[in-house]
């Protein structure tokens, strides 16, 4: 059957929701190829359940099983890094869960949040380029171990009843400082979130980005605004979210 075809057939047996009997017959020992299928699928599921534990608890075993089945069939892992499988899965299933009335409405948001925490825990927080002292007339250098999320449920806190996440818009920065292994979620207001998001895009100075975001919010950059901005900047520098300015 040729090497390429042989490998494709094995892959199809492992990934399809229902393995094709004709393909199994071509591969040889049906019983053992189904054992390989089970090993592949259970290893991936265990990793997903490890990375997205709260999400999987909230979804329940059947919904996770259905999502995994669909994921493996239509958007299987394409990363060599096993640690990235949970995030890859999360990116695929979040839109499916958003459109599915049979799962809790907060599930997609919880999944996106947990995936961000999982990812940030492993991001390399080192910055290769030179970092200068912080200055308003330069582009800021942000920690690479930072992800920003706008959520419709308060999923960054664990409620007393895990099935009851409050519906409320949240702007969250998920961050891990370079010298720490703990990931922290920081709840922001929308203005601060937009500032951080603009700085993260890069290419503009603190002053330019601030003017753009203030304009979008209909705010004047007056003394009160600047006072607030300075407090936020000092806090971000203290937390290691802003590392300095581009050198």
């Amino acid at each position: 059957m040729g090497l390429v075809n042989a490998e494709r057939k094995v892959q199809a047996v492992c990934l399809r929701a229902q393995p094709d009997e004709a393909t199994l017959a071509q591969l040889g020992d049906r019983r053992v190829w189904l054992i390989y299928r089970e090993m592949v699928r259970s290893r991936l599921r265990e990793e997903i359940e490890l990375g997205l534990s709260r999400t999987c608890r909230a979804a329940g075993s059947a919904a996770v099983g259905q999502a995994l089945e669909r994921y493996l069939e239509v958007a299987p892992p394409r990363t060599r890094l096993f640690r990235e499988v949970a995030c890859h899965f999360a990116r695929s299933v979040a839109p499916w869960w958003r459109a599915d009335p049979s799962v809790p409405a907060y599930l997609a948001e919880l999944c996106a949040y947990e995936a961000a925490v999982w990812e940030v825990a492993d991001l390399d927080a080192r910055v290769e380029s030179a970092i200068a002292e912080f200055a308003f007339d330069k582009a800021p250098v942000l920690s690479p171990a930072l992800r920003l999320l706008q959520l419709s449920y308060v999923v960054h806190q664990i409620p007393s009843d895990e099935a009851q996440y409050a519906a409320e818009t949240c702007w969250i920065a998920v961050h891990r400082p370079a010298d720490d292994q703990r990931v922290q979620p920081w709840r922001l207001n929308q203005l601060t979130y937009d500032l951080l998001a603009r700085w993260q895009v890069g290419g503009v100075t603190i002053t330019q980005a601030t003017e753009q975001v203030a304009r979008a919010h209909g705010r004047a950059v007056d003394a009160t605004f600047v006072d607030g901005l300075c407090t936020v900047l000092a806090d971000f520098i203290d937390k290691g979210i802003i590392l300095g300015s581009a050198g």
């Binding site: 042989a6 040889g28 020992d29 991936l44 096993f82």
Partner: protein
């Protein structure tokens, strides 16, 4: 870290054991093996763990996803940071498996057998040559546990392995537990298999535990203690190969460090007995 320091018995660096390992005084653990996929471009705890480990032990790398039976060459977006990591760690060689783990860009994260035929040999030799060129290191390949053959085999697994080794001039990471598991699942003599291995190609040995399923199939789980029959086969192997570093693999169902250490002590004793090595 000098390359020649990889001697005796090593263990895999695992998060579940790391803190106890770092706090331990376990002179029988002489080196560590890592799966580079777990460290490439990674920060956080794993980066710190690796830094602490390499300050104390020589490191050897054993890949999980660049199976040389893959039809597609490895992408530079992975091999570039991999090479950087291997250079940082001063590894003496890098090993991968004689298998495939996916095709068309998909990654199944398992070690799947390739057909034992000429096209697979050609493919494996091509992948090994590419890896050697890219990583600028000797490449070792590991014999996998295979639970069935893919299609009708044109030759026995041993002949397949040997031809890949000879044509590609690769080194061998000889997994003794895999030889044992395969010998039971496919009914051949594991001792005879070991004796036919060209000893000069073997740069590293793996041993691990395995599990017998209810239907009799033996699975290489890395989740149990090494079986007495595998210790015996290892001793026979070391008498054949001479002094080659031995790794105790444990990836599932990881016990407390004391238990792992006890297994390493037993392996160290066996290693010295079989090879005549002494640690002065």
């Amino acid at each position: 870290m000098q390359k020649s320091r990889v001697r005796g018995v090593g263990i895999g660096l695992r998060r579940a054991l790391a803190e106890e390992l770092f706090a331990s005084d376990a002179p029988e653990i002489r080196w560590l093996e890592i799966h580079p996929e777990n460290y490439v471009t990674r920060g956080g705890y794993f980066r710190t763990m690796l830094e602490r480990a390499r300050a104390r032990w020589p490191i050897v790398t054993h890949g999980l996803t660049l199976g040389v039976g893959a039809v597609e060459p490895a992408e530079a977006s992975y091999t570039r940071p991999l090479r950087q990591l291997l250079e940082e760690l001063h590894v003496p060689w890098h090993s991968e498996h004689l298998c495939f783990s996916g095709t068309d860009g998909v990654m199944l994260h398992d070690l799947l057998p390739v057909p034992f035929d000429r096209p697979s040999i050609d493919t494996a030799c091509a992948r090994i040559a590419e890896l050697r060129d890219t990583l600028q290191l000797p490449i070792a390949i590991e014999n996998i546990s295979y639970y069935t053959t893919l299609g009708e085999p044109q030759m026995p697994e041993f002949d397949f392995l040997l031809e890949v080794l000879e044509r590609s001039d690769a080194k061998l990471l000889l997994d003794v537990n895999n030889v044992f598991v395969n010998s039971r699942n496919h009914d051949f003599d594991a001792y005879e298999y070991i004796e036919r291995i060209p000893a000069e190609r073997v740069v590293q040995i793996h041993v691990a535990g395995h599990l017998t399923r209810h239907d009799g199939l033996i699975i290489d789980t890395h989740g149990e203690a090494v079986r007495p029959e595998v210790y015996d086969l290892l001793e026979h192997t070391l008498r054949h190969t001479g002094e080659v570093p031995v790794l105790l693999e444990r990836d599932q169902n990881i016990p407390c460090f004391a238990q792992v250490h006890a297994e390493v002590q037993r392996l160290d004793e066996l290693y010295r007995r079989a090879t005549g090595a002494s640690w002065g």
